[in-house]
Subunit: 478 residues, 2 copies
Amino acid sequence: MVKSQESKESLQDSLQQVIRLLNKHKLVEGLVHKQDMPKHDLVESLVHKQNLAELHKKLDALHPADVAYILEALPLEQRLDVWDMVKAERDGEILLEVSDAVRQTLIADMDSDELLAAAEQLDTDELADLAPDLPKDVLQDLLDSLDSRNRERLQSALAYPEDAVGALMDFDIVTIREDVSLEVALRYLRRLANLPDHTDKLFVVDRDDILRGVLPLKRLVVNDPDLIVSEIMTDDTVAFHPEDKADEAAKAFERYDLVTAPVVDENNRLVGRLTVDTVMDFIREEAESDILSLAGLREEEDLFASVWKSMQNRWAWLAINLVTAFVASRVIGLFEGSIEKIVALAALMPIVAGIGGNSGNQTLTMIVRGLALRQAASYSMKSLLLKELGVSLLNGLGWGGVLGLAAYFLYHNVALGVVMTAAMTLNLLLAATMGVLIPFMMTRFGRDPAVGSSVLITAVTDSGGFFIFLGLATIFLI
Amino acid sequence: MVKSQESKESLQDSLQQVIRLLNKHKLVEGLVHKQDMPKHDLVESLVHKQNLAELHKKLDALHPADVAYILEALPLEQRLDVWDMVKAERDGEILLEVSDAVRQTLIADMDSDELLAAAEQLDTDELADLAPDLPKDVLQDLLDSLDSRNRERLQSALAYPEDAVGALMDFDIVTIREDVSLEVALRYLRRLANLPDHTDKLFVVDRDDILRGVLPLKRLVVNDPDLIVSEIMTDDTVAFHPEDKADEAAKAFERYDLVTAPVVDENNRLVGRLTVDTVMDFIREEAESDILSLAGLREEEDLFASVWKSMQNRWAWLAINLVTAFVASRVIGLFEGSIEKIVALAALMPIVAGIGGNSGNQTLTMIVRGLALRQAASYSMKSLLLKELGVSLLNGLGWGGVLGLAAYFLYHNVALGVVMTAAMTLNLLLAATMGVLIPFMMTRFGRDPAVGSSVLITAVTDSGGFFIFLGLATIFLI
């Protein structure tokens, strides 16, 4: 009876089934084509039809999110085959569920009429999610087809940047007046017959739509129906403005365990609401884009994107790294004379640079996280820097000492071992300093410290590590 | 009236205020101490008291999550000062809100009685979160103080691994029978007077606590009170088992936009529920631990942890890197003869290794993400490998060609340029191959491909890059 959490297994099963049916379908089509069989051949045609019917049935039974999952897990050709089999009236909700990259491949496969039909099934706030991916003429047709209230909503939602509350809010708000009894409120709700998803509270507004408070459903159902709304509503609620940053809103949702929250304009007039499912999607997307940007992927990439598309997504990072690696290479070039004399330097120098980069990235990650959570602030920079320098000094003397010994045993040169230890320690101190300073500086200049600071610190510890090690070696060994 | 999203600014303000008051407080204490003033000096004592009162008032007015935030943002000494000023009866809820690392510093500051008192304010499911951080004797006292039902619940919650649904669920379930009318259900709820947080649905169970379905509150309030629960409840609900993986549950929450979901045992008997706020915390923690582990931080680290604690958290990663860097260094050592003859090789080799590492990590990130979302599976490995090899081939010929030209212009040696381009291309192909194979292999052996695969691929592309470049140079240039 209960659809239990075999649902996850069954999602994998569904994917396997779709693939199996697709392959059978292809096989039959291939046979018909190859053997030049007459298309009306009874048996083949029956199998073919049966297969297709089974696929259609399977897809129709799946939740839109599950169809989206299957589309994302299929290579482009099969993906479009499945997409063509999905009932047209479900296109809209499925487009909402797939990732941006996959959505583009699906939209590219649809003509204007299909797109318009899909869009017309959606609410205004859902349209706002989809709109940026639609061709201009379809978007214009769509705007023309809306009534003035919804057109205005859509245009204002599109005007907010992607990371503002205004771009995430929806308009599924149920409002009541504060001077009615709960009995009246309940009667009003019964007339509505259905409440929007995630309705955990009603918004209490006055005649001018000014927010007066909120009435949680759970208060509505446990209180005496003769009480008046204003007596049991709460006015201690978290509300947002459309121009608020979405990630601040997300933190407030986590902090105060919200399910929905009102969005009000500067006059405290209710303009929409924010729901936990949207916030959760936002958090997930942010976390993924952090991880992707750490690896230098500019944006979400369709796993089955073409080679050409993937290159576009990745070339910028490689170009930057080419430049920083080239700079480091020129630093080494400065010391070619020393390396010619002591070739062991060439073998040892990547160790100094590499460990510096790793240690610097550890510091950086701590500080970036502290800044994002606002636990780190300018007043704490000094104490954080001192702490990180302390960690680096101990690591440098410890691990640097180990490496110095290794260098001594390999090359039977005491001075080389000492230079190795000293260079490690200095490069770790450099890494700690930059690991603290880079994110603080980026924040001061209004930039997101999570983006690009890893490249920057690795560039510094590479070039710096080579310079320190080869420089010390030139002074003391040559 | 409405606490608007200035709340975020005001959180920063609160932090600043607390710091200001703390500093004043310290200043006064310092004065008293330094000048050896009599403690009962009237004026000083008044200022002192006033200061403290203001701090207490400020702290009392803050939401537990906000106090937790302030504690996390303060260096250890000040943190403990503030902690001592928090009302004892709020200790429990605040301990729940702080991060694990900070919680340990707070618990270390409390004696057994204080801990026991704090723990006794909490629900069983909250206790389960706290319990692993408590000293053994306190935990035992706590178990003894519980009634048998709650003791059993706590022990079973503690028995589940941290990433299982059983460790995240709570026991705040409101159940009804399916054969009563909505009218009766509403009367029952009114007798309860208060519903648990996040109650968006009632769980419909039979006499043996077997789950029969769920009744969303929003259905309850819009339907005719004369209807029977079984007529309007839904039995098409997602339920979990306590031993289900928490991250599968989290995906189901996102996929199906859930607010709460029932947790049932193998006989479909209702044992608890999962709520969206817990799931959201879990998602956030997972995302953070992914980012931390990418940088080789073993666990969440208190921003203001001592140098010693930080070293413990970070040494393992540095040790691993030391080993891989040492191996790469020995690979270079094999070719010292070649480097002695053409010292330019020493300057160029880190470029080949570095770009390989970066490109490999891009591939790796895509594949790990695809595996985590289950979009990548064994049947797609071949097509993914072909795609990544294609990207690498083009990048190798393109960027490798640029570098080959650069090497030619720097050293006026055509053969060196050609070796450079060839080595870049081969190392990028190696990076792509390993970027696809490593995560698939780790998954096959039941390991999390997100942990450690980045170290592994960098080790391969470093040593491999040096070997390929110096090897080609030795064959063709020496």
